[in-house]
């Protein structure tokens, strides 16, 4: 089971944050028979592992940068809004340091503002992972 370990100076303040790349999904690449030259450059993001998010979210505009089209729509509820319709995209998430990859994941696109975070890794992705938060050591480990 491949693992990613992150460590910060103050995990309580910053949270479990890691660098990721967002790219088209493996199903998209394989089915459309896209060559490397036809693939867009992956988008680098700062991601927060968020156990309060039922689904993974990426910053609005990332799908457009990758040339992806919407493949579904779902409603979401946040502390300030209920039943907001959001577009869903089919992507891959690559953890930058280890190259560990989730090759096919359906994510919501929504505006993320205020803390230089462009991706929330939600419980959909965590449902197939082991996530250890070590507050004493200011570290976290995600095993996939």
């Amino acid at each position: 089971m491949p693992s990613i370990t992150g460590r910060t100076q103050n995990i309580r303040e910053i949270g479990p944050v890691l660098e990721c790349l967002i790219a088209p999904s493996q199903i998209y690449i394989d089915t459309l028979k896209l060559s490397k030259d036809e693939l867009p450059e992956p988008v680098k993001v700062r991601a927060l592992i968020d156990t309060g998010a039922s689904t993974t979210v990426v910053q609005k505009g990332i799908a457009k940068k990758l040339g992806l089209n919407v493949v579904s729509v779902i409603r979401i509820g946040t502390p300030s809004h209920i039943n907001v319709e959001c577009e869903v995209y089919d992507i891959a998430i690559i953890f930058d340091i280890t190259r560990v990859t989730f090759p096919n994941i359906m994510v919501i696109e929504a505006p993320l503002e205020g803390q230089d975070i462009q991706c929330l890794i939600g419980r959909d992705l965590l449902s197939t992972s082991v996530f250890i938060y070590n507050g004493i050591d200011n570290s976290f480990t995600l095993s996939i």
Binding site: A53, V70, I76, T78, H81, E87, I108, I117, L120
Partner: protein
């Protein structure tokens, strides 16, 4: 949000009772006002969507009687 899948969502809503009858829990693939197919897995529906309609857009949706909204406690999401 733009009304980019408006017709597909209307097609889903109009066909929902029939879809629930035979395919509850499975995944429907819709383009425009046409139901292109129903699949056991979301990945199969996506794969077929790319085969039939290229890069899209198209709608893949799990067939559910009641659709609960996805929940977020984060205040980072701002509309």
């Amino acid at each position: 949000m733009e009304d980019i899948l408006k017709i597909e969502l209307e097609t889903y809503a109009n066909g929902l009772l029939d879809l629930l009858d035979k395919h509850e829990g499975e995944y429907v693939l819709i383009k425009g006002d046409q139901i292109a197919g129903v699949y056991v897995s979301e990945r199969d529906a996506l794969r077929e969507g790319y085969k039939l309609f290229g890069k899209g857009p198209f709608l893949v949706k799990q067939i559910k009687r009641i659709e609960e909204p996805a929940r977020f406690t984060s205040v980072l999401i701002r509309f």
